[in-house]
């Protein structure tokens, strides 16, 4: 009986954590946030239960794209876009690039804050492309692809538009990075790793 009681307590704790994990995602009440992001956070984090379950909620999201152009000396510029069904196969691989484009759009009530994080993500993508293609300069932008309602629910001027009409695409944010930015970042990360290895930051 003793073991059964101990197991029961552990089960109660765990089931509560499962419930709190669903309840305490950003945007929840102060109480749920306090329990989920403070008292139970170590447990939820350790077992990877801290992601929430708001699939396609509160509303289905619009489409997102990352478009880029890398300038490489002595060659034609490299233009690309992700996600792209032509370039990324199988479908799960496509979906990972889909997520790179989607999750660069940070959900935060203050637009300025959200955009500053998006810019950091786009910068990371841009520097990765510079490194990968040994480029001199990269221009990269995040594009939001709005989904039109069914024709009969649309405004009159939108009635004849196709789902991929150019007017349904809007640029969210754009960054331009150069070889100098990449070298500066590499120097900074090398300095940090040197300080770590010499114990300077411990």
């Amino acid at each position: 009986l003793g073991v059964r009681i101990i197991v029961s307590i552990l089960l109660l704790w765990h089931v509560t954590a499962v419930f709190i994990a669903g309840l305490s995602v950003p945007g929840s009440s102060m109480l749920a946030g306090l329990i989920g992001q403070y008292y139970m956070q170590w447990y939820l984090d350790a077992l990877a239960m801290n992601r929430g379950h708001h699939f396609f909620a509160p509303d289905p999201p619009p489409g997102n794209l990352i478009q880029y152009e890398v300038t490489v000396s002595g060659r034609e510029p490299i233009k690309g876009q992700f996600p792209s069904t032509k370039e990324y196969w199988p479908r799960l691989r496509y979906h990972r690039y889909f997520m790179l484009a989607a999750q660069a759009g940070i959900d935060h009530p203050e637009e300025r804050v959200a955009n500053s994080w998006t810019e950091k993500y786009l910068t990371a993508y841009a520097l990765h492309l510079l490194r990968e293609h040994e480029g001199e300069r990269v221009r990269l932008r995040r594009v939001i692809h709005d989904v039109l309602p069914p024709p009969m629910w649309r405004r009159t001027e939108e009635r004849e538009m196709a789902l991929d009409d150019q007017r349904t695409y809007r640029i969210h944010l754009e960054v331009i990075k150069t070889r100098n930015d990449l070298e500066a970042q590499e120097r900074a990360s090398q300095a940090v790793s040197r300080r770590w290895t010499s114990g300077g930051m411990r």
């Binding site: 197991v7 669903g22 950003p26 992001q37 992601r51 909620a57 509303d59 289905p60 489409g63 950091k120």
Partner: protein
């Protein structure tokens, strides 16, 4: 009054005991192991195309950036995050590939059920490491469910059936009969409860959105060209059908936690699960996510039904390997579980 409270507490304890600690046939848990192992293997094999780009220190998602954002999203009161991943410490591409290949071997061994419980623990560690390294940035619901299923496979005897472990035991002369197990029940109950919570909060999340309330969300899902794999935009001519599909999704998700338990409604809820996730598989371009959710729903399928599907396949394999009565095969296997009650938790 005191007696009434005591009786209530006694009834509650009995119900709790029945729910969690009744020994169960491990067939369902074993089938979930096979499916989860295969799903883990495939979904992580796909990382091989872009391993260094996603998991290297200088890829799409520098670890410093993702950790900073996670700490920020936790809010000012959040304590330091425990989102661990062994990928954060791996700098060498060679080591990265070695670790990746080792994880694929672990997922494969989990699928075939060799050293099942040990592989379940290692698979969980690997799955969480992959998931945490690409969060926030490239994760989605698939990773959450992968980790959840791997976690619960650690709890019960997931290699009791349909496994190389069992073939090994049979070759060494172990009895064909498979004992019922309390821990198999605990693992299955945990998956069931977790699935209910997932659908409940998914439904609650949708109720907060205007498009789900107005009955338009189904359209916004399948008219999204970046998601779409099967063109369902002809439904634009049938707005009431779009409304119906939207409302059905929300009510099914909200009702799942209650209606999946009664025998009368369970088959209908599972049928709708196949419909909903079938739509995700075929129309929304997320076959892996749709399938992994169906694997989670497998926890509500009776062991007897699972045996009807899995035993004939297992029997063929065991005949080939052992040369006699096997996994659930032969006359003896028609006895689904031991008639003897399993010992209580802690007595094993």
């Amino acid at each position: 009054m005191i007696r009434a409270v005591r009786n209530y507490a006694s009834d509650a304890w009995e119900a709790w005991n029945d729910f969690w600690f009744t020994a169960a046939n491990p067939a369902t848990l074993s089938a979930i192991r096979v499916c989860t192992g295969a799903m883990l293997f495939y979904t992580h094999f796909i990382w091989s195309f872009d391993l260094e780009a996603f998991f290297g220190q200088r890829g799409w998602l520098p670890p410093k950036l993702t950790r900073e954002l996670e700490a920020f999203m936790g809010g000012p009161d959040a304590i330091s995050r425990w989102n661990w991943s062994y990928f954060n410490s791996i700098d060498s591409p060679t080591l990265l590939w070695l670790v990746h290949v080792a994880a694929l071997v672990i997922f494969f061994l989990l699928t075939i059920g060799l050293f099942s419980r040990v592989m379940a623990v290692l698979a969980f560690v690997a799955a969480v490491s992959y998931s945490n390294r690409i969060t926030p940035g490239a994760y989605f619901g698939l990773d959450t469910i992968n980790c959840m299923l791997a976690m619960y496979l650690m709890v019960g005897p997931c290699g009791a059936r349909y496994s190389a472990d069992r073939l090994w035991r049979l070759r060494r002369g172990a009895p064909v009969r498979v004992d019922a197990s309390v821990w198999a029940n605990v693992a299955i109950r945990l998956i069931q409860v977790h699935m209910c919570v997932i659908y409940l909060f998914s439904g609650i999340g949708k109720v907060r959105g205007g498009s789900w309330w107005f009955g338009e969300a189904a359209w916004y899902s399948f008219a999204n060209l970046e998601y779409q794999t099967w063109d369902l935009t002809w439904l634009a001519d049938h707005p009431l059908l779009i409304n119906f599909m939207t409302h059905l999704t929300v009510f099914w998700e909200l009702g799942y936690a209650a209606l999946i338990w009664p025998r009368l409604t369970r088959p209908w809820m599972l049928f709708l699960a196949v419909l909903m996730h079938g739509g995700i598989i075929f129309a929304l371009g997320m076959p892996t996510f749709g399938l992994v959710m169906l694997i989670g729903n497998l926890a509500f399928v009776s062991p007897q039904f699972v045996q009807k599907v899995f035993d004939p396949i297992a029997r063929r394999i065991s005949l080939a390997v052992v040369g006699g009565e096997g996994q659930g095969g032969g006359a003896a296997s028609n006895r689904p579980v031991s008639p003897q009650p399993a010992p209580p938790v802690g007595a094993r």
